[in-house]
Subunit: 445 residues, 2 copies
């Protein structure tokens, strides 16, 4: 048992940053408390597969307690952090308070609609497991309503899917929705032909996957087009409502009637960074990330670190590091090393440096793009690399096996087993479909 004067490390958030910080404090002479609102670590890189019915939530969620059960200096606390008191070195929970000697904030990102937060209702983003379930519900429900809809215009709107944002998530989602329509559901309906669905990917950027080299963007765009996705670059979303999206592009305003709109265009740092800024005066960047010192500590507060997506850390090119799992993981390890060094009176590392092993984006079966140092490649080799990397990264061995089998089946059968509608509540169709028809027809402008 740790003594009462043992150094107390509190980690807020059990994502990649927080979990790897905790794991790397395993042998340190500290008492670690990992606080999360949920009791599980989410393997976010595969969340889009939950949103599209390939995987069950449980297959990408591992209980934090279970992962850390043998790490005796660490406890997991299910709770919601509402504030931080740096003067008293205390974390304020919704139902209590906990004291720290060192604090690590790793609370990640949430969806962001650039001031149009009312769009969230019509166009869910994909950050949490609840988002994944909601998007899945939306996608598969649309085909059910279309099957029963007799008005051709309304039916078309139910079979039109607009994905806003052409970064990796938007590309993954549009490729997946296309496969659902063209393969998974091909034989399932009688009144509609799901393969005639319209899948539209819109973005203000001039090309999809803008953070990738132009050659790979082109390759990804070709793959998506072959999958039947219509790519609309250089258009701005003017509004989103129940019936669809209004976009503005070089050719003026245009209405896209679509009952299913998915948001993959914006994220911002979690609000705890704002609390921290109020309490410490630390600066936030344009999307709310905490601008930290090179060693990831908060200026003037060497006992507070911010890591992962909610930290604003410039990379070697001066731009902020991307919000991806490897950055968070490496920062978690770095901060744990710093704490160990401090307690052991050793030299602490001066500045976090991200070791970029490269990035991978998947488009669909046999289609991915890889940007690894000077190596750019696409197609089947990139896809196999993607499969391999993601399987290896899955935290629990059991999930690795189950996910592999799901993928193997899905590859050959195109089936998606995890598509029960409204699994957490009875499915009911709208009482009348007439309102649907009216909305969709009259909203054309």
């Amino acid at each position: 048992m740790p003594h009462d004067n043992t150094h107390k490390v509190i980690i807020i958030g059990g994502g990649f940053g927080g979990l790897y910080a905790a794991k790397n404090l395993k042998r340190a002479p500290v008492e670690v408390t990992l606080i999360d609102r949920r009791n599980f670590h989410l393997f976010q890189p595969l969340l889009y597969q939950v949103a599209t019915g390939i995987l069950c939530p449980g297959e990408i969620a591992s209980p934090l307690r279970h992962i850390l059960r043998r790490q005796k200096n660490t406890k997991v606390l299910l709770g919601e952090v509402v504030d931080i008191d740096p003067a008293k070195k205390t974390v304020i929970l919704a139902d209590g308070a906990v004291a720290y000697d060192t604090l690590i904030i790793a609370t990640g990102m949430e969806n962001y609609y650039y001031g149009n937060e009312s769009w969230a209702k019509f166009a869910p983003g994909l950050k949490t497991i609840e988002d994944g379930a909601r998007i899945r519900q939306k996608i598969f429900f649309a085909f059910e309503v279309a099957e029963r809809e007799e008005n051709p215009a309304a039916r078309k709107a139910w079979l039109t899917f607009v994905i806003v944002g052409s970064g990796p998530t938007g590309v993954e989602l549009s490729g997946m929705v296309s496969e659902i329509a063209r393969k998974t559901l091909r034989e399932d309906f009688r009144a509609i032909r799901p393969e005639e669905s319209n899948i539209i990917l819109v973005d203000l950027a001039e090309r999809i996957l803008p953070s990738y080299p132009p050659g790979l963007s082109k390759k990804a765009a070709d793959s998506l087009t072959r999958l039947g996705v219509m790519i609309r670059n250089g258009v701005r979303v003017a509004s989103i409502d129940e019936g669809g999206v209004t976009v503005e592009g070089p050719s003026g305003r245009e209405r896209l009637d679509a009952k299913t709109v998915l948001w993959a265009a914006g994220v911002k740092a979690s609000p705890l960074g704002g609390k921290l800024a109020e309490r410490t005066g630390v600066r936030l960047d344009s999307i709310g990330r905490v601008v930290v010192n090179p060693d990831l500590s908060v200026p003037g507060h060497p006992d507070i670190f911010v890591i992962g997506d909610c930290a604003g850390v410039p990379g070697s090119d001066g731009k902020p590091l991307p919000g991806v799992a490897p950055v968070a993981t490496q920062q978690g390890r770095f901060v744990a090393r710093t704490i160990r060094a401090r307690l052991g009176d050793k030299k602490t590392p001066q500045a976090f440096r991200y070791f970029d092993k490269g990035t991978l984006a998947v488009i669909g079966r046999n289609a991915a793009v890889a940007d690894i140092g000077k190596l750019h490649f696409s197609g089947v080799p990139a896809w196999i690399l993607w499969l391999f990397v993601h399987l290896m990264l899955l935290v629990e061995f059991e999930n690795r096996v189950v996910v592999f089998i799901r993928w193997a089946f899905q590859y050959f059968t195109f089936n998606r087993g995890s598509r029960q509608l409204r699994a957490e509540g009875p499915v009911r169709l709208p009482l009348t479909t007439s309102s649907v028809k009216d909305d969709t027809i009259n909203n054309r402008d």
Copy 2:
């Protein structure tokens, strides 16, 4: 494509009865419409494994459309049936109406609290996939709160689990909760010792599994006791509230302080039988089952059949047939055969006869009881038979493989991967735990 004058069969409910009726009409000259509120068939015999975190909902839910996709004379309709009009031969949906020539009602059962429906809030039953998710949430959440609770009495109430009803579901649930406490979570907590949890199985009946031969009941009770379950037979539940259960037995009234109470004591037929009785005058039995003719048709309405759990059919011993999957499956096949015979001008079967292959109840790992004709056995052989039968019955091949792997891992590791808390909404602890303490301490009477 079927002609407009093709005989129209409507099946309400996609459980075992409805699904097997539909499948056995595959080659009949009919147009089948299968209506369900949900888009999936639920493999109910394994629902308790979802409720206890071994399986994901998607692993026991198969999309009805997918199962029936190649059966070209059959369509699936996602919708809620609110009434039946036998005079107009029409099924009334919440959002429309559909005409039938032959109607098959297979809407199953729901939880029943014998007039104390307010108990449902405190003691969820296990009929739907939502129930499974709710019970899972309740069980795993209790340990989380106990970990943070400092008052010993309140902590004990969070670590006390009462299961009401000692039929197969109650036995399965209590065995599973015991394994969760004693094995799965053994190393996960720091402040509590989950293995010190109290698991109490209460029932008015004089022995558990009352529908089994007394020798097997005894074997099952021994197994449960070894697992640490406290069995309380011959006690009646007087009331259930937020803080626990009040029971009445030979030794008087007694209060069981328990924050987790699960209901496995009662079911009644779905309310559509009541509508049918209003419209046709058919008799309902004490738990709302429709009392049908020996050929499962409604008296005076040869074009309406009622099958599965919501039908009241006497078995060879005069007692109603049990609400189990094999009865429903055989009735679905029987009714399909009757319809085919009628349309083919062949002799229709006179009376449904249940072919009882025997029953199996599982208690925990390596422990089950089997009652197969004159053969009664228990322990590992019964358990292996149970595993085999349930794997073979799982509708989709992919799920069979995934479930087998989950079981294999769970057997050796005791881990339960599907235990993310409130996966469909953020987990938050009660704002204060003081109310919990007060409730539990003062309610003792």
